[in-house]
Symmetry: C2
Subunit: 299 residues, 2 copies
């Protein structure tokens, strides 16, 4: 069975793994990424980690997931807030030359989507739409086993989709952007503002809503409606076979997902009401998805 090298690079840590084409992790090493020290240090570290993987030469390709939008054709990052110096750096080319095999780069949410599409909850389906909801909101459409990363690597940068342009300005994102309105951070912020009460984490807002707190009920209701509208919008654009849901907020999925699906149905054609909403199946979609990049390119 074919296997690939997957690299999950973050601003703080990096993992390198040898993974089979059906998503089994055969070997893994990890360590600090030295992400703030610039490309020379980061790349030398990654190369040395790859060489720690037993029989890495058996692999058919390298895939790398990075935090930020990627020019997938050029194999380099477009923006690199968490990895200074990497915007425009020829990441994939350098890895390919170093190890003598094809190398591909994509955004970390996109590779997570790819993992779910190829070996996770969306396995075997043509159109998989992955959404991750935690402190922020990200996503990616996968068509026939390839991420739709787009011209500038902004495909799936759904955070900035406007849900309601009559909301308040929060940050650099659009007024009414889904990330500000329906992420964990957004729900917590809106509850705290309405109630005048601080809460430790977002889960408390769901608990209070169930206990009948009117501010929490209103905040959760708007949250469900906003997310329902988001998914209805996605269905209009690409009508996926499945919505796969990841991210920290899914720990509370039982408290809001039924409401989100009800709202989704109220804003979409009956024909698309049977589209399943399914929790992500993989525990480590980031590293597995990175390894799936060369597979998705036919390696």
């Amino acid at each position: 069975m074919k296997c690939y090298l997957g690299i999950d690079l973050g601003g703080t840590n990096v993992r390198v793994a040898k993974i089979t084409e059906d998503g089994q992790v055969l070997a893994q090493v990890k360590g600090p990424s030295y992400g703030q020290e610039g490309p020379a240090r980061v790349m030398a570290n990654i190369k040395s980690l790859v060489r720690e993987i037993p029989e890495w030469k058996e692999c058919s390709g390298i895939g790398i997931g990075v935090p930020g939008p990627v020019d997938t054709k050029a194999g380099c990052m477009v923006l690199s807030t968490n990895l200074p110096g990497f915007a425009g750096y020829p990441f994939a080319d350098e890895m390919s030359k170093e190890f003598g095999m094809p190398a591909f780069l994509d955004n970390d949410a996109n590779v997570a989507a790819l993992a779910e599409a190829l070996v996770g909850a969306g396995k075997g389906l043509n159109y998989v739409f992955y959404t991750t909801i935690s402190t922020g909101i990200g996503g990616c459409l996968v068509v026939d086993g390839k991420t739709v990363s787009g011209k500038h690597g902004f495909g799936g940068e759904v955070a900035n989709i406007i849900i309601d342009r009559n909301r308040e300005k929060v940050n650099y994102l659009n007024v009414g952007a889904i990330e500000n309105e329906a992420s964990g951070t957004g729900l917590k912020r809106k509850y705290e503002k309405a109630s005048g009460e601080k809460v430790k984490h977002t889960g408390v807002v769901f608990d209070k809503a169930q206990e009948g707190d009117p501010f929490a009920k209103a905040a959760v209701e708007e949250f469900e409606k906003d997310l329902g509208q988001y998914f209805a919008t996605i269905a209009c654009v690409c009508d996926p076979d499945i919505f796969v849901l990841g991210g920290g907020m899914m720990k509370s999925a039982d408290k809001f997902l039924p409401g989100v699906i009800e709202q989704y149905k109220s804003m979409s054609h009956t024909a698309v009401h049977d589209t399943p909403f399914v929790l992500a199946a993989l525990e480590e979609p980031g590293i597995i998805g990175a390894a799936m990049l060369p597979k998705s390119h036919g390696c």
Copy 2:
């Protein structure tokens, strides 16, 4: 050079053409579709038109564009408001058996998008997003030369995307659906309601706006903002290489497209500001796109 049979079927008329793989029409016949008389009559008519095409047997496949969402895997329509009796009818299978070559079915807006992606304004690009704006609004994403028609054929049924859920209820579509807010019909309706004055067609609203009519100016401004938000949303989902624009409203493109692009930029990341907005290049994308369906499936 390979050639294909394209069939553009509407509720009133039907066209059949023999078209080369680069989009040249070699022969064409047309006539009434008998769309209200049911599948038996419609199919017999189409079959007889195909046999009028000189050397139709040279073709490598058949593609059919129909008005309504299509289950592209099954090759049948999902809804068929304008072609009674065709929902679930095994259209592609029957054509394939009759003529001994592969046959494919898709929605008419989707095949127009395919034509623009393969031999029109988006030729050679990976990610093409086509939008048609006339009395209604339709669209389709084309990835690597294949339409993203989706699980239920609702991919690109963008009419129902909610732009602002605080608008008035107009019809069966969502409150604030883009088609009701920013189609030609929508702009005319909103101007007439605000001004209390009837106009002959949508073009008059643009003229009045340029003359300084405050109701027309407000209506056009909202129209541009709504469309800008629509394109910004699409960019977040799939970051296309190009936005291709078709439909009757494009006759007035010089009067609103600069404003739409300005609004698009105000609601999207600077990285995607260079995405071109280009008018559709083909005069007959419907029939050419139908013929491109077998090509897009590798025939």
